[in-house]
């Protein structure tokens, strides 16, 4: 192989190093913890924490009306919302830790959280 002859011995080493970086970066980047619960907030305060392992549906009353949140197959989504633009509904299912759907007009947010948080709280 002509192209293989262009590799010098150390080049293989550097390529292997690069491959290691790729391999190591996958678990570091793609496992942000396992999604365990959905935190529903209304007006900035925690309204409910839903265990993702149990399917259920919950109604959250806000200033505009009822926002309905459903947990199904370890995922969570906003099913219906009285807001005019429906951004949080169209966002669909949330499954990974950190994902969030915000229904701003009705002051409701749904966020997926993993088992361990980096910190409990921050104060300044």
């Amino acid at each position: 192989m002509y192209w293989l002859a262009l590799f010098r011995p150390g080049d293989w080493l550097v390529a292997a190093l690069g491959l290691t970086i790729c391999g190591v970066s996958i678990p570091l980047a793609w496992q942000g913890g396992v999604a365990e619960k959905a935190v529903i907030k209304r007006g900035g305060e925690v309204f409910a924490e839903l265990d993702l392992s149990r399917n259920r549906q919950i109604d959250v009353p806000g200033p505009l009306g009822i926002t309905t949140v459903r947990v199904e197959k370890r995922r969570v989504r906003v099913v219906s919302d009285p807001g005019p633009r429906q951004y949080c509904v169209r966002q669909g299912w949330l499954a990974r830790p950190g994902e969030i759907a915000i229904c701003a007009p009705n002051q409701v947010s749904v966020q997926v959280q993993g088992g361990k948080e980096a910190y409990d709280s921050l104060s300044y």
């Binding site: 002509y2 080049d11 790729c22």
Partner: protein
């Protein structure tokens, strides 16, 4: 009216840098025309020129060629001083920094392929850092790190091999021209 003549004296070294930078700019334009699914992932063909210049004429010339390519390429693509330009500038600066160390590696063991891989990782590393600090200040950006590093490795090897082949085929005495 007085006629003033602005005389600009140029050295053969300047001509060489201009020719090589022109080749790099041409490749940068081709690079920008290749459609790729993920923003930020590009083959970086212009870096082949940087690698060849580095091997033939040293780091200072490579830095000139690379810098001219970033600025002129930015002007031609209409992204001068835009976020894309600064991403490209950061990538170029970091890879030049790494290349300054890479060329000191023993030549029997490490060739253009090593330089290319190291520079590609420096490039994407710098860009990720700038993007995280300035453009997308959210850790969700690091979700793309495996894809970026895989692209850096793949394109790093390909560009390095092309540079190594061109260096092997072009005798050292023959001046490189942008043809």
């Amino acid at each position: 009216m007085t006629r003033s003549v602005t005389k600009l004296t140029t050295t053969p070294e300047d001509h060489r840098i201009a020719q090589l930078a022109a080749a790099a700019i041409g490749l940068a334009l081709i690079d920008a025309a290749i459609p790729l699914p993920l923003p930020g992932v590009k083959p970086g063909l212009a870096n082949i020129v940087t690698l060849i210049v580095l091997a033939r004429y040293g780091w200072a010339t490579a830095a000139w060629v690379s810098g001219l390519r970033v600025i002129a390429g930015g002007l031609l693509l209409g992204q001068f001083l835009s976020p894309g330009f600064f991403m490209s500038l950061t990538g170029a600066l970091l890879s030049l920094l790494v290349l300054a160390f890479a060329i000191r590696l023993p030549g029997r063991w490490f060739g253009p392929v090593s330089w290319s891989i190291l520079a590609a990782f420096a490039h994407i590393g710098g860009q990720l850092l700038l993007a995280r600090l300035w453009l997308i200040p959210h850790n969700g950006l690091f979700y793309l790190v495996p894809l970026f590093s895989a692209a850096a490795l793949a394109f790093g090897i390909i560009n390095g091999l092309i540079a190594a082949r061109l260096l092997a085929e072009l005798p050292a005495t023959e001046p490189l021209t942008a043809e």
